[in-house]
């Protein structure tokens, strides 16, 4: 596996991060680190994996996607605007009283299947959607992105037990494993290791990827399920704040408020390596 910290970012990944920084600046606040660790995961899902029609967000044949770690929404909003689910102008009203987009995604936003923000909810909701697709033989697949801090929640493991029992091939859970949560490293706060073994023990086929390596993500997500007759867990090794050297693995950048124009310029410059 390539190294999540040292791997470079191509122009599309940089462009999405620029959008995220400008959205952050518009709202003057946001979960920066969590959004930046997610960019390649979401980019590959929306560019290469998910079946959707942005003009008809509720098209029944679509794949369902839930960002269960809802605080990573800045990255999701960048993709929703990029794909045409929402007007780009909405990004510049982030967290404003007349805006569509707030600090956590809500299901009234086109392209958002479920409201998340409180951790530990999206996986069970997605599981219900995956069961529904099986009941209706619709062929829809369900993808849920959870966080590593979120994986402290008992409800995640209740849902994992159930998905394993149902052998839901159309259900894929991606862990944004950036190894950091709000207070500190996951190893210190609530160690998840051995994480691959845990998911395997709950009945999932498991794949590990560098979550910033577009090629690895594409290869893993184009070859689902990882194991026949099982749901898939993709452990995405990522870097919190990926792309901004001073923010990478720096917990001060978990959430920022009072973000001013100078901060935006500093982030944009750092992104370009200046």
């Amino acid at each position: 596996m390539s190294d999540p910290l040292s791997i470079g970012l191509d122009e599309r990944s940089l462009a999405l991060r620029r959008t995220i920084i400008r959205t952050l600046g518009a709202g003057q606040r946001g979960h920066v680190g969590a959004a930046f660790s997610l960019v390649e995961i979401l980019r590959v899902l929306y560019d290469d994996v998910l079946r959707f029609d942005a003009a008809q967000p509720k098209w029944p044949g679509r794949d369902r996607f839930i960002l269960s770690k809802g605080h990573g929404c800045l990255a999701l909003y960048a993709l929703l605007a990029d794909k045409g689910f929402i007007p780009e102008a909405e990004l510049w009203k982030f967290c404003k009283s007349d805006g569509l987009l707030g600090g956590h995604p809500e299901h009234h936003i086109p392209g958002v299947e479920a409201s998340t923000g409180s951790l530990g909810h999206g996986m069970s909701i997605g599981l219900g959607m995956a069961l529904n697709a099986r009941m209706d033989t619709s062929g829809a697949r369900v993808f849920v992105v959870i966080g590593d801090g979120e994986s402290n929640e008992g409800s995640i493991w209740e849902a994992a037990l159930s998905a394993g029992k149902h052998r839901l091939e159309n259900f894929c859970v991606l862990t944004d494993y950036n190894k950091h949560q709000s207070y500190g490293s996951t190893a210190e706060v609530q160690d998840l290791e051995p994480l691959v073994d845990k998911w395997r023990a709950f009945g999932f086929g498991v794949v590990e990827v560098n979550g910033h390596d577009v090629g690895q993500l594409q290869a893993a997500l184009r070859a689902l399920p990882a194991e026949t007759g099982r749901p898939t867990a993709v452990i995405c090794h990522t870097v919190k704040g990926k792309g901004i050297k001073f923010a990478e693995n720096n917990m001060e950048w978990h959430h920022q408020n009072k973000v001013g124009p100078q901060d935006v310029e500093r982030l944009l410059a750092a992104l370009e390596g200046r």
Binding site: H107, E113, A114, S115, S118, G120, H121, M123, S124, I125, G126, L127, G128, M129, A130, L131, N132, A133, M135, D136, G154, S155, E158, A159, L161, S162
Partner: protein
């Protein structure tokens, strides 16, 4: 009441492909026919209420009508946030059928007493709450739940509860049922306390005190029109519920009366469980007695409220 409700869900599911049932870890043989005949829409998911409610929301967001059944305390307290966010915020048609509302599980002790379920669920926007008074009323309720918008909490009694409802009185979710009429006091009840109110009303009637009994099977949305119309005619209002006096039926009625500010003011009393964990075991009946949720206390309370005030 439980068997009646679940059997009806099964009957409805046979002809309505939108209906899905989820249990936690229910008694062996529960809905055996359902699981045998419609296995694809019958789920038994184990002791995992958080996941069950989330799953139910996911199914309902896709167009299913989901009936969930387990013990009331676990279906309200354990998965409260799922009830609020997954069901309430998404406003999805999930029906939570709760076993043992109130003190039904008295022999099992305080962990199993659902003394606060109405208060808990009442705080959730979009959540409807219905507590039928007997199995016959349950038969009239369940078919109406299929296309009712949004989530709903359905409180079950012990089972084998004496039948006090009447098919002659139309049942509609959200519409209180006047079961007796009198002009001196209004007894507002929900669930099985309708029987207590009716017996108290009969006894008080023989003393020349006329009581209206308003069976508020739907605690939320509260039937304000009926409540205020009946309260307007009487001098005293008493609520009777198998629940803490905080935040349930009594709380709801108190809020309405306080804001309506009748003049002269209505004398008012809530009968229910005081702000304690009820101590001891016994039966539902003995626990109700212990908590003072009785015909005798209702009679005494009405007499007291109607007595000339000395101050």
């Amino acid at each position: 009441m439980r068997k009646t409700s679940l059997d009806l869900v099964y009957q409805l599911a046979k002809s309505d492909e939108r209906i899905v049932f989820i249990g936690s870890d229910l008694g062996v043989g529960t809905l055996a026919e359902f699981s045998r005949e419609i296995p694809g829409r019958f789920l038994m998911e184990g002791v995992s209420e958080m996941n069950i409610v989330g799953m139910a929301a996911g199914l309902a967001l896709e167009g299913k009508i989901v009936y969930v059944n387990t013990i009331a305390t676990f279906l309200t307290r354990r998965c409260f946030e799922q009830n609020v966010l997954d069901l309430g915020l998404h406003n999805v048609p999930v029906r939570l059928i709760s076993n043992g509302g109130g003190v039904v599980y008295a022999p099992l002790g305080p962990t199993h007493l659902a003394i606060d379920d109405l208060a808990i669920m009442r705080s959730i926007p979009n959540m409807a709450i219905v507590a039928p008074c007997d199995a016959e009323e349950m038969k009239r309720l369940i078919p109406q739940t299929v296309d009712y918008p949004g989530p709903m909490y359905i409180r079950l009694g012990k089972g084998g509860d004496p039948v006090v409802s009447s098919p002659a009185l139309p049942f509609q979710i959200g519409k209180a049922i006047p079961m007796a009429t009198g002009d001196d006091a209004l007894l507002v009840t929900t669930g099985i306390t309708a029987k207590i109110a009716l017996e108290a009303a009969t006894a008080l009637g023989s003393q020349g005190i006329g009581c209206t009994v308003l069976h508020m099977h739907t605690v939320k949305p509260l039937d304000l029109e009926a409540l205020l119309a009946h309260a307007g005619r009487v001098k005293a209002v008493v609520t009777i519920e198998e629940h803490t006096v905080i935040g349930g039926l009594g709380g709801a009625v108190a809020e309405v009366l306080a804001e309506r500010a009748f003049e002269p003011v209505k004398r008012f009393k809530r009968i229910g469980i005081e702000d304690v964990f009820p101590h001891g075991y016994g039966s539902q009946a003995s626990m109700m007695e212990h908590c003072g949720i009785t015909v005798e206390r209702t009679i005494a309370t009405v007499q007291d409220l109607l007595a000339p005030r000395t101050s």
